[in-house]
Amino acid sequence: MMEIRESILPGIGMKYQMDTASGDRIVIVIHDDGRRELYHFSREDDDQSHLIATLEDQEARQFAALVGGMVYKPKQLESVEMAFDDLTIEWYRIEAHFGCVGKTIGELHIRQNSGASVIALIDKKKGKLINPGPDAVLGADATVVAVGEREQQKRFKQILMNGSG
C-alpha cells in the first residue's frame, strides 16, 4: 500500500506527500483558502519541488473525479471503491487460489465474522445475483460486491483469501 505522509503547515494549510510505486514523489498542498497545488519532485534532486498545477476548489473536485475514475473506469481495475461517509462498496475478484472457492456465503459466516455484507455476486456461468442468500456459492473467477466500513472490508477480504473467519 502506498504511504501518504500528512503534515500541517500552520498558517497555510495541509500537505500530503506520496511516493508512488513508479518512484514519483507527488505533493498536494491544500491551502486554507481552498486552493490546491500539485507538486512533483524531480528524481535527481529530492530537495526541489516543481509546481505542476494550481487548482481552484471547483477545478480540484473535477480533477479528483477524473483521477478517481468516477467518469471513466479503467477496464483493468479489479477492485473499485466508492465511499459514502465511512461506508464503502468494493468489488473483489475471487482468484482460483482463494480459500473461499467453492464455499457458500453462509458457511463462511461472512456477516458475523467481518461485519461486511455481500450485496451482489457476479459469476460468468451463473450470471448476476443481486443480494445473494447464505446458500450462494463463491466460485473461482466470480466477482463479489460487498458493503461495509473500511475495517470490515479488510476482514472480509481476509475471509475470502483464507476461506475462514
Partner: protein, 403 residues
C-alpha cells in the same frame, strides 16, 4: 479631523499599492510612508501632512492594531499542534532561539545598553515575521519542499517564545518599581495572570462553546470584541501589557469550537488596524533624527541576524535529516523581520526605555523585511556562495539505513 484620518488611510493604501506593484512585503512600506510624513512634513494646500491633531487618534488606532495582531496570534496557536509537529521541530526551534537570542543579548550588552534595553534588542532580533515567512513560501511555490515543515515549525516555536517573553518583559519593563524585588514581583504577577487565564479558560471551554453559539454575526462580533477589549483593558490596570491580555483571550478562544469563525471575523480588523499600527510607528519616527548610532546598531544587528539565522538553519536542518541545501533554505527564509519586532520596540517605548530603540528597530525591520524575502528567493545562489566558503557536507543518513 476625519479629513486627516482619511489622508492617513489614503497614504497607507498608497503604500500598500506600491508594495504590491513591486511585489514586496507591505510592512516596510507602511512604516516608510509613516516616516515620510509627520510634524517635520509640510502643509500642501488643503492637505496637512503633519498630522498634528490626529496623531493621538492614529496612535490609538495603532494600539488597537497591536491588540488584534496578538489576539490573532493567540487564536492561531494551539498546543496540540505543537505537540503533534514532533521532536525535530522542538529541537530545531530551541536551536534557533538559543543561538539568536544569545547573539541579540550580546549585541545589546556590547553596545553598552542597560539590561532592559538589551532584553528588548534581543527580542527584536530574535523573532521572525511569521506573516512574511508564510507569504514568501506560498509566493515562491516552496510549500511542498522538505524543509517547509521545519521553517513553519520554527516560526510557530518563535510565536510561543514571543508570548512568554512578552509577558515576562512587560512585567520587567512596565513595572513602576526600581528595585529588583519589585521588578520580579511584577514579572511574576504578569506570568501568574497569564497562567490563571489559561487554566480558567481551559476549564471554561465547554461553557464558552455554549455561550458563543450565537447565530447573528453582529452579536457574535460584539461579544468577541467586548471580551477582547475588557480583558486587555483590565490587564493594563494590573500592569500587565494590554497586548498580553489580548493574546490570552486569543489563546483561550482558540480551544473553542468557534475558533475558525472568530478568525474570519477578526482577520479584516487585524489587517486594517495592523496597517495603521505600522503607519503610526513610522509616524513616531523623525527621519531627520535617523543616523549615527541607530544606523550602525541596526547594521550590526542585520549582520548577526544573518549569521545567527543561517547557522541555526543549518543545524536545525541537520537534526531533521535534511540536505545542506534544504537547510540553507531554512535560515534564509526565517530571516524576515516585521510585526513582532515592531511590537517589542513599542513595548520599549511604553516602558520609557531609551529612544534609540525605535529608530533602531525601524531601520532593522526595514532592511530585513525587504532583504529577507529577496535572500529567500535567491537562496540557491546564496547557498552556492556559502558552500564555496564553508564546504558543507551532506551528513544525511542514507535512506536505506534510515528505514
Amino acid at each position: 479631523m476625519i479629513f486627516e484620518i482619511g489622508l492617513a488611510l489614503g497614504l497607507i493604501a498608497l503604500g500598500g499599492l506600491i508594495s504590491a506593484k513591486l511585489r514586496f512585503s507591505v510592512i516596510p512600506f507602511y512604516i516608510l510612508i509613516g516616516m515620510a510624513v509627520g510634524p517635520h512634513a509640510t502643509e500642501l494646500w488643503h492637505f496637512d501632512f503633519r498630522f498634528i491633531d490626529s496623531a493621538p487618534f492614529i496612535d490609538f488606532m495603532g494600539r488597537i492594531g497591536v491588540l488584534f495582531l496578538l489576539f490573532y496570534l493567540g487564536l492561531e496557536f494551539s498546543v496540540g499542534r505543537l505537540v503533534k509537529s514532533g521532536k525535530s521541530i522542538v529541537v530545531g526551534g530551541s536551536i534557533y532561539i538559543g543561538i539568536n537570542f544569545t547573539l541579540g543579548l550580546l549585541l545589546g550588552f556590547l553596545g553598552g545598553f542597560p539590561v532592559a534595553e538589551a532584553l528588548v534588542i534581543a527580542g527584536i532580533t530574535t523573532i521572525s515575521s511569521s506573516a512574511i515567512v508564510a507569504k514568501v513560501l506560498v509566493d515562491l511555490k516552496r510549500t511542498a519542499n522538505p524543509e517547509t515543515e521545519m521553517i513553519l515549525g520554527i516560526t510557530m516555536f518563535e510565536d510561543i517564545f514571543l508570548a512568554v517573553y512578552i509577558s515576562i518583559l512587560s512585567g520587567f519593563v512596565l513595572s513602576d518599581s526600581n528595585s529588583l524585588g519589585g521588578v520580579l514581583l511584577s514579572a511574576l504577577v504578569s506570568l501568574g495572570f497569564m497562567l490563571a487565564i489559561i487554566i480558567l479558560g481551559r476549564k471554561a471551554v465547554p461553557l464558552l462553546n455554549k455561550w458563543l453559539r450565537i447565530r447573528s454575526n453582529e452579536l457574535f462580533g460584539l461579544v468577541i470584541f467586548g471580551a477582547l477589549f475588557l480583558i486587555a483593558g483590565f490587564s493594563e490596570t494590573i500592569h500587565v501589557a494590554e497586548a498580553i491580555g489580548a493574546l490570552l483571550v486569543g489563546l483561550v478562544l482558540a480551544e473553542t469550537e468557534h475558533a475558525k469563525r472568530i478568525e474570519h471575523l477578526i482577520m479584516p480588523f487585524r489587517d486594517f488596524f495592523g496597517a495603521v499600527f505600522f503607519f503610526s510607528f513610522g509616524l513616531s519616527i523623525d527621519p531627520m533624527s535617523l543616523g549615527g548610532n541607530a544606523v550602525w546598531l541596526a547594521l550590526a544587528a542585520v549582520v548577526i541576524t544573518f549569521a545567527g539565522n543561517f547557522s541555526a538553519g543549518m543545524l536545525a536542518g541537520r537534526t531533521a535529516n535534511l540536505s545542506p541545501k534544504a537547510s540553507a533554505n531554512i535560515g534564509l527564509t526565517i530571516l524576515s523581520r516585521g510585526e513582532f519586532s515592531i511590537i517589542l520596540a513599542n513595548l520599549g517605548k511604553d516602558g520609557g526605555l531609551m529612544d534609540i530603540l525605535q529608530p533602531f528597530s525601524a531601520i532593522y525591520v526595514l532592511i530585513l523585511a525587504i532583504l529577507g524575502p529577496i535572500l529567500t528567493k535567491q537562496s540557491p545562489h546564496v547557498y552556492a556562495f556559502m558552500n564555496r566558503l564553508f564546504k558543507f557536507k551532506d551528513r544525511r543518513v542514507p535512506k536505506e539505513e534510515a528505514l
